[in-house]
């Protein structure tokens, strides 16, 4: 029962962005330079997307990263029936939390800033944009412990969601990165947005299996491999049984659902 299917993956950080379909891409030159200097304001919605979005300009950077990562999944959520959207769960994990936004609020106390001084406001933004009304969760992962993938696995196994959007967003100030993360987990530039769309295991969708141990690492691996994913050796045996058992989660990469089917 410890199976789920990754339907799409995406990420963005200081070095580039991408999805499992496009692979990794560099930022356009002027944006790339600004991002290398740590100027996140240079990253606009229009840098990546031609669609409209409501009030991106007033969102804090943490929420922008999460929302953009979900948009990069390019999962055509708008083609879903309302009943399907009602069953999409959203789980966000953030190691950094919103301390950058907290500082901004202290500098200038505004209602719109205060609205984002929660690590979880991005959950609301994602649900609002895509009209998801499934279960919700927001975790600040403790090093070495379970994160959002395990939450999603539980929702799917128990039938509490039909699909899950798991998002990792971080906006780290360098000096505290070391205490929150192992050094090889610090994203380039200290910030990232990563997302995976997960569904129940389907027969059609398992070309290969591998272990899912960290959302950011999984998202980047899938994007680096790009659309032509080579087969890899199966790792271990998925757990079976009538009760969800403890152990690693396995998943495969499947097709992104097409409108009206899949």
């Amino acid at each position: 029962m410890n199976h789920l299917t990754v339907l799409a993956a995406s990420f963005l950080d200081a070095d580039g962005y991408g999805s499992d379909r496009t692979g990794r891409r560099p930022w356009p030159a002027p944006v790339a330079e600004a991002l290398q200097r740590g100027e996140l304001e240079a990253l606009r919605w229009s840098t990546l997307f031609s669609s409209e979005t409501s009030r991106f300009g007033r969102m804090d950077f943490l929420s922008r990263l999460g929302l953009m990562a979900v948009e990069l999944l390019d999962a055509r959520f708008e083609a879903m029936e309302p009943a399907q959207r009602d069953a999409v769960g959203v789980c966000v994990e953030t190691r950094s939390g919103c301390t950058v936004t907290d500082r901004r609020f202290l500098q200038m106390p505004l209602a719109s800033t205060f609205a984002y001084t929660l690590p979880s406001t991005v959950v609301g933004e994602i649900c609002i944009r895509h009209r998801f009304r499934g279960p919700v969760m927001c975790l600040l992962p403790v090093p070495g412990q379970d994160g959002s993938l395990e939450t999603a696995l539980g929702w799917l196994n128990r039938g509490e969601a039909g699909a899950c959007v798991c998002v990792a967003c971080d906006l780290l100030e360098k000096k505290i990165a070391a205490s929150l993360l192992l050094s090889d987990d610090v994203p380039p530039g200290g910030w990232q947005g990563c997302a995976v769309l997960i569904g129940r295991r389907t027969e059609a969708s398992h070309d290969h299996l591998w272990r899912l141990d960290s959302l950011p690492r999984l998202a980047r691996s899938l994007c680096a491999l790009g659309p032509a994913i080579p087969s890899i050796d199966q790792i271990g045996t998925p757990g079976e049984g009538t009760r969800p058992t403890r152990g690693p989660i396995y998943g495969g990469v499947g097709r992104v659902p097409s409108p009206g089917g899949g």
Binding site: M1, R85, D86, V90, R95, G97, T99, D102, R103, F105, L106, P109, L110, A111, F114, A115, T117, L118, P119, S120, T121, V123, G124, E125, C127, I128, H130, R131, F132, R133, G134, P135, V136, M137, C138, L139, L140, P141, V142, P143, Q145, D146, G154, N157, R158, G159, E160, I176, S179, L180, T242, R243, P244, T245, R246
Partner: protein, 419 residues
């Protein structure tokens, strides 16, 4: 076979609390019985421009006591509160015959045939922490260039606060940290119950904590959502909420390991309104969805619910929305319902825990709580609103609700299995 059918039932074996009413569950229970309020004015805060200086402040005497007991955490108030609640729950689990330290509370809330602590190896003991701002005072102090210990700075990051709490009490099993606005507490209880059901732990402490900091006072002032004189939930003249601080803790175990009576965590649900961040048109349907999910998971129909403990903050908006949600789920037969925000304030990340403990107090005494702060009920909310406490004919199934910023909603079904 559906795994949910065979999953073990989870119950509360012990608990702890610290808030405006004082230190210990007993004070909470007394205040519920008396329908008292712990809200008070804090003169120290006047002149700072806050919309209200009335809130559920932990008494100075309690702070003094906690700092005396644990000077190493003297400037880390979030830890002190969380730890206080956790310690009371730990004491409550020990085998009968052990005594709490003088002045400190500790009593089991259900009778234990054997000590859960003794029977559970450290690696099978877990912790789930719920908080919205953790040790936000560390950021305030950094901003104002005031001294701050390394410990307090660490606890600005909720995951590190969770890790330190777990380490301090040798909880070497799973450690999680949940932070989803005002529904964090109920989600944390859900997370804790799942750890037991998925056999990842045998004993899970769920702790919720938040401080009544200048940060949140300033924040809610910018939102203009505080009621200057103190909140009046579901009142026709209500104008806003009151903030509070504190910590609540429950120790979760498999129900079968407890002798009757016990409060079972029977079901849960969550949802998002998916409407608007500040949601002026929230019609209660998002909260109703969470409630229906919780009822379905618990395997009960709305008719089986004896009592609803609402979020009931006292803002014009929230209470109206909750009234609508109650009607959507219960139609014409809304069970008796109350709000405890007038008891100890809106304690944010601790709310789900402290308010679940109000439900526990109600169940143990078979008494329906009132709504402190309520003067004249709003005629547009269902009329089963409880103003003052009264005896319950039979209090078995209870529904606990919370709603959070960003349109999030959570519901918990609790079942009292009495003697």
């Amino acid at each position: 076979m559906d795994p949910a059918v065979t999953a073990p039932r989870v119950a509360i074996a012990a608990s702890g609390a610290v808030n405006a009413l004082g230190l210990g569950l007993e004070r909470l229970e007394q205040a519920v019985r008396a329908n008292a309020t712990g809200l008070r004015d804090c003169p120290r805060l006047s002149g700072k421009g806050y919309q209200s200086t009335v809130g559920g402040f932990v008494p100075d005497e309690v702070w003094r006591q906690l700092r005396e007991r644990d000077p190493a955490h003297g400037d880390a108030p979030a830890f002190l509160l969380a730890d206080a609640a956790l310690r009371e729950a730990l004491l409550g689990l020990q085998s009968s015959g052990s005594e709490a330290a003088p002045g400190f509370p500790g009593a089991p809330t259900g009778s234990c045939e054997r000590s859960h602590l003794d029977a559970t190896p450290a690696s099978r003991r877990g912790l789930v922490l719920s908080t919205t701002k953790a040790e936000i005072t560390a950021l305030e102090r950094a901003f104002h260039q005031q001294p701050c210990s390394v410990t307090a700075q660490r606890h600005l990051f909720p995951a590190l606060l969770a890790a330190d709490l777990a380490a301090a009490h040798n909880l070497a099993g799973p450690v999680h940290c949940v932070s989803l606005a005002c529904i964090s507490g109920l989600l944390a209880i859900q997370q804790g119950a799942l750890l037991i059901q998925e056999d990842k732990a045998d004993l899970v402490f769920v702790v919720g904590v938040d401080l009544l900091s200048d940060f949140v006072l300033s924040g809610f002032t910018t939102l203009k959502s505080l009621e200057p004189g103190g909140c009046h939930p579901f009142d026709v003249d209500r104008k806003g909420l009151s903030l509070g601080e504190g910590a609540g803790a429950v120790a979760l175990v498999r129900r079968e390991t407890l002798a009757s009576p016990a409060l079972v965590v029977k079901g849960w649900g969550s949802s998002n309104d998916a409407n608007h961040l500040t949601g002026p048109s929230r019609d209660g349907s998002g909260l109703a969805l969470a409630m229906n999910r919780a009822l379905q998971k618990a395997g009960i129909t709305p008719d089986a619910v004896d009592f609803v403990h609402t979020h009931g903050t006292g803002t014009p908006y929230n209470d109206a929305m909750e009234g609508m949600a109650l009607r959507l789920v219960f139609d014409a037969r809304v069970p008796p319902f109350c709000s405890s925000k007038g008891l100890f304030g809106h304690t944010l990340g601790a709310a789900g825990l402290l308010e679940t403990l109000v439900c526990l107090a109600a169940a143990r005494q078979q008494m329906l709580p009132g709504t402190p702060g309520l003067r004249t009920p709003d005629p547009s909310v269902p009329d089963s609103l409880l103003q003052t406490p009264r005896r319950a004919e039979s209090l078995r199934h209870m529904l606990k609700l919370n709603a959070g910023f960003g349109g999030t909603n959570a519901a918990l079904v609790l079942e009292w299995e009495g003697a």
